[in-house]
Every structure is written in C-alpha cells, then in structure tokens.
Symmetry: C2
Subunit: 214 residues, 2 copies
C-alpha cells in the first residue's frame, strides 16, 4: 500500500511538472493542482500548513506578481500576498470559486481577455496589452497579480512590455520570457515585444523597483 | 558591412543565451557580457541608455534579488536597485572592478564561498547556507543581491531554503529552482533543499513578502 502511494505521488509530481500540459482542460488542471496540494500537505510532517503558490508564480516588481491560473489550492498562499487586485488575461468568465475568493478578500478583478491561440494563429492585440499595462503601472492597484492560463505567453508578453518601459535591453526581456515559457517559447511573442511601441506610455512612472520605499 | 554586423550580433546573442556555458571561464564571460551591452546600446535608437540586468536576474522577495555574476555592463542597472549589500557565494576573490563598484556605491559585500563543483562531486555545506540565510533574512541588509557564477545552483539552493522557511511546498520550491537551472538542474541540489533542516532558523521572520509595507 505504501509503495503504491509513493509511486502514485511520484507520477503525479512528474505530471504536474510536465511541460506538455498545454492541451489539458480546466477540469483536469484542477485535479492536478489539488493533487499538488495533497502532496504538499503529506510532506508536511510538522503539522504546519504549507503554501502552494500558483503554477509559474514569481515576483515581477514591488507589488507586482505573475502566475498561471490560480486554483483553490493556491488561495491560502494568495491570501498571504494581501492582493488588492488581479489582472486576468483570459477571455473566459472567471470561475465561481475564484470570484468568491475575490469577493471574500476584497480583491478587484481586471479582465483583459486575449485568446490563447497557438502559433501560427497568434494575434496579440496591441491595445489590450497597452490598457493592461496602465492597470499594472497604477500603484493604487498594488499588490497585483497578473495571470493567464499557464503564466507563459500572455503574461510573458505583458511583463516583457513592462520591462521595455523599465528600459531593460531586449536580450534580458527575452531571457526572462524564455525562463517562464521554456519549451513553449514563441518567436511570435518575442517579435510582438520587440515591435511594441512604448512611446505612448512613457509618461507613466515605470522604472524597475519603482514603488519601493527605500 | 551591415550584413556582417547583423550576423555577428545574431551569433553573439545566441551564444549569450546558450545553456551550455558552464565551461566558460571568467575572462570569456566578460567578453560576452560586454558584447550584450553593446548589442543593447545598438538596439537603442532613441538615445536613452538601456539597462542590462545580470544573467539570470530576478526578484526573490521585497528587497531581495538573485542573479549570476555581475559584470561592468550590469553596473548601471545595479545602481538603479540602490543595493545596500551583495551576498556572493563564490570562493574566488571579488574582482577589482566589482569591488570598486561596491566601494563607490557604499555596498557591503558578504562572501560565503562555496565550491561550484560538478555532479557527482557536489558537497553543499549546510552551515554556510545557514549563515548566508541569516544575512538574507536581515532586513538591515536590504536591498540585497544574492549571486554566484550562473545564478543557478548555489543561488538556487539558498533561495530554495528561503522558500522552505517561507513554507512553500517542495514542488513549488523545485519548480522555481528548475526555472533558473533549466537544463543544468541537479537532483543533488534538490535533495539538499529537501533535507535542509529549517528548525534552527524558524525564529527569524521569513514569510513571503515579509518586508512589504502594505
């Protein structure tokens, strides 16, 4: 029995970390996340609750975070961030459990739906990214979490355009994008970031670590 | 002439982003970083100086950053972070140009040298990681940059142990480690993080986003 559990756990962990997960639908994802949460709880012999950050979670800047789609297993961690808003880049209606979490914690939802199309049918709307960036740069919305489904392409493009505003050189912008997209990195996304015109946003304060109190 | 430059630029960018760079020595690295800086300057038609963050640069938490070895090309960017200290995990003496940058900017250097050995000769000293973590967790040292040579293994282990203190579940700790180590991820590093005993550090305030003023 113990061996069976151990094998199952190993298999689940492998599946959670697999890169070839773009084809999975939402329901399946929830199953995997819940499994991750159970694994976390099982690893925790001390009895203290462990945090499960969302897939591909990272800190972008002071008061700005990025991730894949948050699931119920991640709510405890998200609560610890004391978020003021969430910027969702998926066009689908926000799931009821997530909407309820937002209501209960007084978190404002900004939704800028972009289709998560696959290459070569990618068409990233310039104006939507621009409007999303205005929300991201407004410190009144901080702490803020940017997310799409996997935290790779749509989120990667918004963060990449933010880095351009922060005057990062393109090779560093692409390096960061590729760290999250890994095997799924798209040349079309990188071309979009390279061509994205930041001149209309230059009046906004956007330097890296711009909201830090030091 | 223009075509030659363009080809050279492309080749350099490919080499900079290559994963198989573990064998390069310091002098070669400086050459590549300088090239990256020149590329950045060349891309910048607007005349404004672009920032070149160090290799594998990222924000770990409020006031805590991570990266590979900073080079002169990165000094402009590092200045913008208004660092109070740098935690270097390499045993070699700090290069004169870097030491001079630290002096000029009033940045304190903490050095906890760990040999960057290759598997299977890896022996990560538990006590050194523990002492390094105390420096990282002391907000009087913030903003602080943690770095080793590539920002993958030694830095990854320190950040991974910090995440354990922040009660992240192990799969999330490994996910973050792997994002930076990519093809160079080591099972031995992950085993080290899994076995690392945080109980002696639990009195230190370490929750994620612990120094944020929200």
């Amino acid at each position: 029995m113990k061996i069976e559990m151990s094998d199952e756990k190993k298999k689940l962990e492998e599946e959670i970390q697999s890169e070839s997960d773009d084809e999975r639908d939402g329901e399946e994802l929830i199953k995997y996340y819940s499994a991750a949460s159970e694994i976390a709880a099982g690893n925790n012999a001390g009895g203290e609750e462990l945090f499960v950050p969302p897939l591909n979670f990272a800190m972008v800047d002071n008061g700005i975070f990025r991730s894949g789609y948050p699931d119920t297993a991640n709510f405890g961690f998200l609560q610890s961030l004391r978020l003021r808003s969430i910027l969702c880049l998926c066009p689908e209606p926000y799931p009821e459990a997530n909407a309820e979490f937002l209501r209960a914690n007084g978190i404002r939802l900004f939704q800028f739906g972009i289709d998560g199309c696959k290459e070569p049918f990618v068409n990233i709307p310039d104006d939507t990214i621009r409007e999303a960036l205005k929300v991201v740069l407004d410190t009144r919305n901080h702490p803020l979490l940017i997310h799409c489904k996997r935290g790779k392409h749509r989120t990667g493009c918004v963060v990449g355009c933010l880095r351009k505003l922060q005057r990062w050189c393109l090779s560093s912008v692409f390096d960061e994008y590729q760290r999250f997209a890994a095997a799924k990195a798209r040349v079309s996304d990188q071309r979009f970031m390279e061509r994205f015109d930041i001149s209309s946003l230059k009046h906004l304060p956007a330097s890296f670590s711009f909201s830090q109190g030091h």
